[in-house]
């Protein structure tokens, strides 16, 4: 006979004085945002905003504060605000990061914090870029399971080791921080880019997938993996900590092994 445990109360009342981290420190920052509105001017311009922010705030909170309290025309993408959806990659103090994962207190608040759209993709307005070329490359590597033969009647089994082989590259949230940090991509936007290769890697090394050869052939293109110069900008930029350059090298290796 089992005795059912009473569910713990979801609300816990703390005695006064217990818990909490005390006063959250606040500080003043200056946000320097690169603005662009093709309906007003073809030239981008810089705007500065002074804000009082708290130690728990992120760059995204500062952008929200500007948009909600100072200048409603400021445009940027964000959705989850918790580093999951990959909407708000931007160039903050010269580095590609997610605004929702960058705490203000980790930046140098004595100087203006510079926020720009990610580089290499056409800017549509303020911090919003046209992601279509990025997603086109993503689509080209066929980011879906392709299997030969009949549909199995039960789930497709895989050992823990087989799963581990491509675990790193399953973490991608398609934020484009890597591709838009790559100097080869900046030149002419022809390169497939790290994100497409990372997502190809995720299927190429998946034991359940049978179209690895097709993907390797696609990435053996003139604008494919061989344009990678191992600059490591992508690895530095990735907010999920994916070893992007390593994944690209593994794809290079796989193409070589297949051809030779």
């Amino acid at each position: 006979m089992t005795t059912e445990m009473a569910e713990p109360a979801s609300r816990i009342d703390l005695a006064p004085g217990i818990g909490g981290g005390g006063e959250i420190p606040s500080f003043d920052i200056t946000l320097r945002v690169r603005r662009y509105n093709p309906e007003v001017s073809a030239e981008p311009a810089w705007d500065e905003f002074s804000l009082t922010m708290y130690g728990t705030d992120r760059v995204l909170d500062a952008l929200h504060k500007v948009k909600w309290e100072q200048d409603g025309t400021l445009s940027f993408r964000r959705s989850c605000a918790h580093g999951v959806c990959g909407s708000d990659a931007m160039r903050i103090n010269g580095r590609n990061r997610l605004a929702c994962k960058t705490l203000l207190k980790d930046l140098d608040t004595s100087k203006p914090i510079i926020v720009e759209p990610i580089k290499g993709l056409p800017v549509e307005k303020d911090l919003i870029v046209d992601m279509e070329p990025f997603f086109q490359s993503y689509r080209e590597i066929m980011p879906f399971l392709i299997s030969k033969g009949h549909e199995p009647t039960k789930e497709r089994l895989q050992s823990a080791e087989e799963r581990e082989r491509f675990d790193d590259t399953t973490k991608c949230i398609l934020c484009a921080a890597c591709t838009s940090s790559c100097p080869v991509f900046w030149t002419d936007g022809q390169y497939f880019g790290p994100a497409a290769i990372v997502n190809a890697h995720r299927f190429i090394f998946d034991s359940r997938d049978d179209a690895g050869d097709m993907r390797l052939e696609i990435l053996n293109d003139k604008e494919g993996v061989w344009r990678c110069r191992t600059v490591f900008n992508c690895t530095d930029a990735c907010p999920r900590g994916i070893q992007v350059t390593k994944a690209i090298s593994e794809v290079k290796q796989a193409i070589l092994n297949r051809k030779i």
Partner: protein, 154 residues
């Protein structure tokens, strides 16, 4: 001023991002592989070359016309220098080719720079090869040896 803003996700791609189809073939893969392999071989060839020329025997003080002539009298050094010439030129030119591809933004600029590069590389490789194989330290023109004093009197 007003700009037309297209519907998001209409599937259009700004023309400069459109990738031309049919870039297949494994040229880039072979070029990539060649860079690594020739690099390894060149390390051996170049350091061997420097060691023999600058350190063995009297070292750098022994280098003169006669020294070079002596080296090229042996097929071993002919092949060594030929390999060094070809590998270094192809390795270097391919490196500059990738730099041009990475940094030149306009197709016309790219084409011109690469044209000049290929022409320069071809001239150097052909001239160098010619010199290695046709080198004659004691040329005799119309029965008269050219002056220089390196060669034994006939």
């Amino acid at each position: 001023m007003s700009a037309t803003i297209e519907t998001p996700r209409s599937g259009r791609i700004a023309p400069q991002y459109r990738r031309s189809k049919g870039n297949g073939g494994s040229f880039e893969m072979i070029a990539w592989l060649f860079m690594r392999l020739s690099g390894i071989v060149l390390v051996v060839l170049i350091f061997g070359h420097l060691f023999v020329n600058l350190m063995v025997g009297q070292g750098i003080h022994a280098i003169d016309f006669g020294f070079v002539a002596g080296k090229w009298a042996s097929p071993f050094w002919q092949v060594w220098d030929l390999a060094m010439l070809w590998l270094a030129m192809l390795h270097g030119s391919n490196g500059v080719r990738t730099i041009i591809n990475d940094y030149a933004e306009r197709n016309a600029t790219r084409m011109w720079l690469k044209g000049i590069l290929y022409a320069a590389a071809a001239v150097i490789v052909i001239l160098g090869t010619l010199v290695i194989f046709t080198f004659n330290p004691c040329p005799v023109v119309n029965g008269v040896p050219l002056p220089g004093g390196f060669c034994p009197a006939p």
